[in-house]
């Protein structure tokens, strides 16, 4: 045992002799060992089959280039554009009766007239927002008061049927 003369503490036998070795050992334990193995893996036979997959991709790319060369695409597009231009030019003055907006409107009206959508009022109500919606939003021209009165006069029987008290 080794004793310090100035204070009453003592150390185990040979403590200072082996201190350096123990310290070095501990330091080497504490030193972060960077693992050499990155732990990344590849699927089985990945490298063995890589060449085939690469060849397939390479062939696909080169085939696309051969089948659709840019020059051919440009030539075809130019031909179509030229034919379209000539056709429009020849027919430019033969469409006096209808313009685009007329066609669109008549088509849309015909579509609504000729197709039975079978939509119930509930289904229509579902797609039309109720809030902030006025009749005028969905009508091209406002309803005149006279027209409303005429309608009520002609269809007054329907409203009588709705009289709840009479039907009770």
């Amino acid at each position: 045992m080794k004793k310090n003369n100035k204070h009453p503490f003592k150390t185990p036998e040979g403590y200072f002799d082996i201190f350096q070795d123990e310290l070095m050992e501990k330091l080497s334990d504490d030193k972060p060992a960077i693992p050499k193995d990155s732990a990344f893996m590849v699927p089985d036979n990945y490298f063995e089959t890589f060449n085939d997959r690469l060849t397939g991709k390479l062939n696909a790319e080169t085939k696309v280039v051969q089948l659709y060369p840019v020059n051919k695409i440009i030539a075809v597009a130019a031909s179509i554009a030229a034919i379209a231009f000539i056709y429009v030019g020849l027919n430019w003055n033969t469409t006096d009766e209808l313009n685009f907006s007329d066609l669109a409107n008549t088509d849309i009206e015909a579509y609504f007239e000729n197709n039975d959508f079978g939509l119930s009022s509930y289904e229509i109500a579902k797609v039309i927002p109720v809030t902030n919606t006025e009749f005028s939003d969905i009508l091209n021209s406002p309803i005149e008061n006279d027209n409303i009165l005429d309608y009520l006069n002609e269809n007054i029987n329907d409203f009588e049927e709705l009289n709840i008290q009479e039907n009770e």
């Binding site: 960077i34 050499k36 990945y46 490298f47």
Partner: protein
């Protein structure tokens, strides 16, 4: 050097191209794969980038002037392809490269092709925090054990600069691993 010149000539000549390209792929596919994998981390992404790398090599071999070694030229293409891949993916997701790489590392735990223990996962986290250049140098020097001269030719940086980068990277990684 004569051998490489002949080989490059074979790669450029139509009759010998296919066979020479196969030799090229067989010789370098694994090395280039690990270079790419170290950057993109995920196997499927590494596979995509590796295929694109070889396609680019195939299409551009006629433009290879022989100013650098074929090996350095291919490594440079692979590295750029992988870095561009990371940039494209991070742009698509609207996040920075660093954030994207941190995300890649966090995905490693669920990656069936990553069998790392806690320290290896932490090592990847540490590498992800490094600046791009230090990250590349660390991967190439530490995992792939390339010589400084080879890395210098690939990254077109001085050997002195690379040594400094590697030293800094190791210090940062060690510091990261020490912290809990």
């Amino acid at each position: 050097m004569i051998v490489e010149e002949t080989f490059v000539q074979d790669l450029k000549t139509k009759n010998t191209q296919a066979q020479a390209f196969e030799v090229l792929v067989n010789t370098y596919k694994e090395r280039l794969y690990w270079q790419i994998r170290g950057i993109v981390l995920n196997h499927d992404d590494a596979d995509d980038v590796l295929q694109n790398t070889f396609i680019k090599i195939y299409k551009n071999i006629n433009g290879f002037k022989g100013d650098s070694k074929l090996f350095s030229w291919m490594y440079r293409i692979a590295t750029n392809e992988a870095l561009n891949f990371i940039k494209q993916r991070s742009n698509l997701q609207g996040i920075t490269d660093i954030d994207y790489q941190e995300k890649l590392v966090s995905n490693l735990q669920a990656d069936v092709y990553f069998e790392g223990d806690e320290i290896q996962l932490k090592l990847q986290q540490a590498i992800a925090t490094l600046p791009e250049k230090q990250k590349l140098v660390f991967n190439m020097k530490y995992f792939q054990e390339l010589k400084y001269e080879e890395i210098s030719a690939i990254l077109e940086t001085s050997v002195g600069g690379l040594k400094a980068s590697y030293h800094l990277a190791v210090k940062k990684v060690e510091q990261y691993l020490k912290t809990d």
